[in-house]
Subunit: 308 residues, 2 copies
């Protein structure tokens, strides 16, 4: 992969961060703060990033969207399970990652991430870098609505359709498998799509697929926000939202590879933990009442289910 191509990916990702945060700021009425950072010389990873976060907004209680671009001298083995020839190779990684926690319990929390990794095998020249893409998005409702789940999945499916009919079913299943809380035997939410290590369409088309997924994020999520953001709610719904946010914390800190290994390996803590909810609660043996909307969430939404 050439420098020009890398710079094309960087330009796309920075633009994506701008577009997404501008659209969300407009929905919310509040502003994102922007925090540009740079790794100190001598740290194991070099690089820079831009963290954007909106806290305590009208619609979003906490909405973080980060761009990062790092270079390392030796690719960690965990990143190269399927490519042993790349272990220890110099690498470059960039991506945009976001988690939005809305205030209204009827609006679901959402996560989206797109990323690219390029590594140069030790024996090769710089033009022979190997490059792959990853990403996806998934939705975590507190109260389930079929039409929201169908819309979200349909938008994901449409974004992938130009790249082959096999992509949505594969990435939908991958998402269900990844966003699973084994210790609760629960899905994190209604899923979406997830892919990693992707280069099977060649560089240009694989990048195009990543862009298509990224560009479908706002159309997948904002209509749901608009539909639910003014729905009245009370203490019961707020309490359940706080309780369910505890699951989000559990997933991210216990199971999410990026978060867990990022924190353990010296990543930028405040950027990694932008995914944490603004407020979360725990209580012992919480049980949803039979026949309640809360029970319906568990039974009909937090399961592996075909939505489209």
């Amino acid at each position: 992969m050439s420098m020009t191509e890398l710079s094309g990916v960087r330009t796309f990702l920075l633009g994506l961060q701008e577009r997404v945060t501008a659209a969300v700021a407009e929905v919310d009425g509040g502003d994102f703060i922007t925090d540009a950072w740079q790794k100190e010389p001598g740290e194991p990873l070099q690089g820079n990033g831009i963290t954007k976060i909106l806290e305590n907004g009208e619609v979003f209680e906490r909405a973080g969207c980060g761009f990062s671009h790092v270079q390392g001298s030796r690719l960690p083995p965990s990143a190269t399970q399927h490519r042993p020839e790349l272990a220890g190779a110099p690498f470059e990684a960039m991506g945009v990652s976001l988690v939005f926690h809305p205030r209204n319990p009827y609006v679901p929390t959402v996560h989206m991430n797109v990323r690219m990794l390029a590594a140069t095998p030790v024996s090769a020249g710089p033009a022979e870098a190997v490059c792959w893409f990853g990403g996806g998005m998934d939705l975590t409702p507190y109260y389930g609505f079929d039409e929201d789940a169908v819309h979200f999945h349909q938008t994901c499916k449409d974004a992938l359709a130009p790249f082959g009919g096999d992509k949505y079913p594969r990435f939908k299943q991958w998402c269900d498998e990844y966003f699973y809380l084994k210790h609760r035997q629960e899905q994190r939410g209604i899923g979406g799509i997830f892919f990693d290590d992707f280069q099977e369409l060649g560089l240009e088309q694989s990048f195009a697929m990543m862009q298509s997924v990224a560009d479908s994020f706002l159309p997948a999520y904002l209509p749901i926000v608009r539909r639910r953001q003014s729905q009245p709610y009370g203490a019961r719904e707020r309490d359940f939202q706080l309780y369910r946010r505890g699951r989000y914390v559990e997933f991210n800190l216990v199971w999410d590879r990026g978060t867990h290994f990022g924190l353990q390996s010296g990543g930028r803590t405040e950027s990694i933990l932008m995914s944490m909810p603004p407020l979360a609660s725990w209580s012992y043996q919480h049980r949803a009442e039979a026949g309640s909307p809360e029970e319906r969430l568990y039974k009909e939404f937090l399961i592996r289910r075909d939505w489209v």
Copy 2:
């Protein structure tokens, strides 16, 4: 270790759980609920336990104290790093673990745990089981008070004194090293004592040391609760408490070996996560004001420091 000796440890631990929860219920005015559980036949670990928890009390917002006693057919390698001859041996483990989250931000959160592990090397008879002890306690204030820290550490030191003057300094340092949030470069609190894999005094005296530590828990903690529980506070102190509780969540889910591996290996989730606070918050780049009590917590308390 004989069956009689094992049953002596079990009796002590069950009594400890009773005494501690009774004393805390008296301070609080509320009641612990009691939940006895038993592992299902066919699960990898067999055994039973008693979970006691008080939620939404006057003094304690969430106070959990669990007893568990499990048997397994093969000791996991992680438990036998220093004893390769025991890998795969049948084992038995029991312990009491507690975390109390007070309502008033001037009252610190506390954690205590005592445990025993017995394993029978495959080549030996049941009477030749190898047995070791672990445990400790540590204090996590939201607002620092020197006299509380000194009292807590002095009580720990006194509990260990009959077992040799080296024990407190060793276990104090071990505690500082264990309860450290590497991703924040912060201590979890003011520490206390921590020991593991302990059998150097022989079975009888090692068990006696564990009992002495356990018995010193109420005298170490309750005087601090009584001193602070009626101190007036406002939204500022409450907000800081919720924010700092986020660190407790981060430590337990990311760094605490018992919690993390318990959840990943099929432990009883609701019992393991009794340590979670009832409510916790996150905010981006939270900064304590210069010269404030919140800044003083970071600078003077969340560091490795000799208190006695």
